[in-house]
């Protein structure tokens, strides 16, 4: 417990440090002095103030938000499937949300971002329902590899749908603009819409630690203790749907965060979701904030998408992990 307090403190410091780097560094360097001024004496004429308030701050906040969403959905899915390889990206939840977005653009070409988010939730919900049925019929005894195979199939299936749709309806421009830009295109309006949902979902998540721990004792034990394992799974998946759908509606589907961050936190605090969940939220947010910052610094003023940077770390990470799981 003491160890956890230190880790939490460390994660918070890391977050604060990364946050300041992320808002000061980039194509335009902004000094701490300017930041202070921009907050406390905003000047419409000052270009740096404008950059900070309207471009950099929302993108940094958005990158934290999506990072924590993707990371914690990974942790939750690992908890309910008892599979350390579960992740919204690998299991198709994120690509399901992307299909939802594509459909939103087809039906309502001038859709508002907040309304598009609802379609994203719906897509994530359908993908999760598929996954839930798959695991249900495999009596949850599905092996880690089996679940991943099913998830990869599901994920490819949904990706194929959104690609077909975007070719057929000429959505490439819209979707590419949406996804490739990463956190850079996120506006204050979008953030205002998602923040209350985010806060609520994160609070619910933090309350789920004990139930997820209980699930790891096995379904029979859960029932014998008077709880309903499928009820716990259903509630947790609902939170997953909201978090994943929200994150995808902001930056598109990004994989590997949900795999890497919970794995590292599990290694640090052990298999206790009451500790894993808060650390994963801060850790995931900080990681994506850092990846987004690196993406801006590699080749300014051009941007490297943070998804690409994360995949660069994530793919070898996954391969090593699969090797370990089998070993």
């Amino acid at each position: 417990m003491k160890r956890f307090t230190w880790l939490l403190l460390f994660a918070c410091l890391l977050f604060i440090g990364t946050f300041f780097l992320a808002i000061t560094q980039g194509a335009a360097d902004i000094s701490l002095q300017t930041i202070k001024e921009a907050f406390f004496g905003f000047d419409y004429q000052n270009q740096l103030h404008q950059v900070l308030r309207n471009i950099r701050l929302p993108r940094v906040l958005a990158s934290f938000l999506v990072g924590s969403c993707f990371a914690v959905t990974g942790a939750i899915m690992q908890g309910i499937t008892k599979n350390p390889l579960a992740d919204g990206g690998l299991l198709g939840v994120n690509s399901g949300a992307a299909v939802g977005l594509a459909i939103a653009f087809i039906l309502f070409p001038t859709i508002q971002p907040s309304q598009a988010a609802l379609f994203s939730f719906l897509g994530a919900f359908i993908a999760t329902a598929f996954l839930f049925l798959l695991t249900k019929y495999a009596r949850l005894g599905m092996s880690p590899t089996g679940l991943i195979l099913a998830g990869v199939a599901l994920s490819s299936f949904f990706s194929a749908i959104s690609q077909t749709l975007s070719l057929q309806f000429d959505l490439n421009q819209d979707l590419a603009f949406w996804f490739i830009g990463g956190a850079a295109n996120v506006t204050w309006a979008q953030l205002r819409f998602v923040t209350p949902i985010y806060v609520l979902a994160i609070l619910l998540t933090l309350g789920m630690g004990k139930s997820l721990n209980l699930l790891s004792l096995g379904d029979d034990t859960v029932i014998a203790l008077g709880k309903h394992p499928q009820g716990i799974r259903g509630a947790a998946l609902l939170v997953v749907v909201v978090l994943a759908g929200m994150a995808v509606s902001l930056v598109g589907p990004v994989s590997f965060i949900g795999l890497m961050v919970p794995h590292v936190t599990r290694g640090l605090v052990g298999k206790n979701y009451q500790l894993i969940l808060p650390l994963t939220i801060i850790g995931g947010g900080t990681l994506v904030m850092a990846a987004d910052l690196v993406g801006r610094l590699i080749n300014p003023p051009f941007e490297t998408p943070f998804g690409a940077i994360l995949a660069l770390i994530g793919v070898p990470f996954l391969l090593i992990k699969i090797r370990r799981e089998q070993g």
Partner: protein
């Protein structure tokens, strides 16, 4: 006290019937041993008795009420189940795990009450785990881990405790330790203990009453003297057993056994 009985109980998974047409009345306040070959339906029966599995037909009654009509949470306050495979990779302290036994009594978001805390301390004490209470379960030996799960079941404060092969995977000393602990719990607190067990001599020594299950059917039941006879063992396991009695009691002891002629 809680009275558990089954009437024409058939239970299984999907369409596969594992236990068929079983009618038994479990004696209260005793240690009940469930024996039978692998795949004879012992675990399935125990799960049905704990309401983890719903009967395909027939009924389980708890105090004359149909068990599957009673709420999960209420059942959890009457019957505790220790299932066979408990994942000990969880990163929790012993006290935290034992506190999970209080789940049936918790309402909404409220924390542990004074009564919960007392029950947890009592369970830790009864299983001799007080000194280790703040250790992580991962650091314990197999026998100690099993004690933790038993402590969790005790904290549940039920009249009936069901255990699925509580001594499997333990060395002889730890097996005996667990069985002595269960005997102590039965004698001191009057709890009915129902357990499946493979070691027939342990079953003979510790059980007051036994059920012998073969291919999902009840072959015979009674005291160890009734059940552990050369003939019944031949019918049950297809073994030729040489029997004697324990030096300090009249309970049967299997000296040695050979495979039956048909094998």
């Amino acid at each position: 006290m809680a009275k558990l009985r089954t009437v024409d109980l058939t239970v299984g998974y999907q369409k596969q019937k594992i236990v068929q047409h079983l009618t038994i009345e479990i004696p209260e306040g005793q240690i009940i041993g469930l024996i039978g070959p692998n795949g004879s339906g012992k675990s399935t029966l125990l799960k049905a008795l704990a309401r983890v599995l719903t009967p395909l037909s027939g009924d389980v009654f708890l105090d004359e009420k149909q068990l599957h009509q009673i709420k999960t949470k209420e059942v959890a306050g009457r019957i505790a189940l220790l299932s066979q495979i408990s994942d000990s990779s969880i990163g929790l302290s012993i006290r935290e795990i034992v506190s999970y036994g209080r789940y049936p009594y918790q309402k909404g978001l409220s924390g542990l009450s004074q009564k919960d805390l007392e029950a947890i301390e009592w369970a830790l004490q009864a299983t001799g785990l007080e000194a280790l209470a703040d250790e992580n379960i991962g650091t314990l030996s197999g026998g100690q881990k099993q004690r933790v799960w038993i402590a969790m079941a005790l904290a549940q404060d039920t009249d009936i405790v069901i255990l699925d092969e509580p001594t499997t995977f333990l060395d002889p000393a730890h097996q005996l330790e667990i069985l002595l602990l269960l005997q102590q719990i039965n004698q001191r607190y009057g709890k009915t203990i129902i357990m499946s067990i493979h070691d027939l001599n342990h079953a003979s020594r510790f059980a007051d009453y036994m059920y012998a299950l073969k291919a999902g059917m009840l072959l015979t039941c009674g005291t160890p003297e009734d059940v552990l006879t050369t003939q019944w063992l031949k019918d049950l396991f297809d073994i030729e057993a040489t029997l004697t009695t324990f030096p300090n009691s009249r309970k049967p002891l299997i000296l040695t056994y050979d495979l039956g002629a048909e094998s």
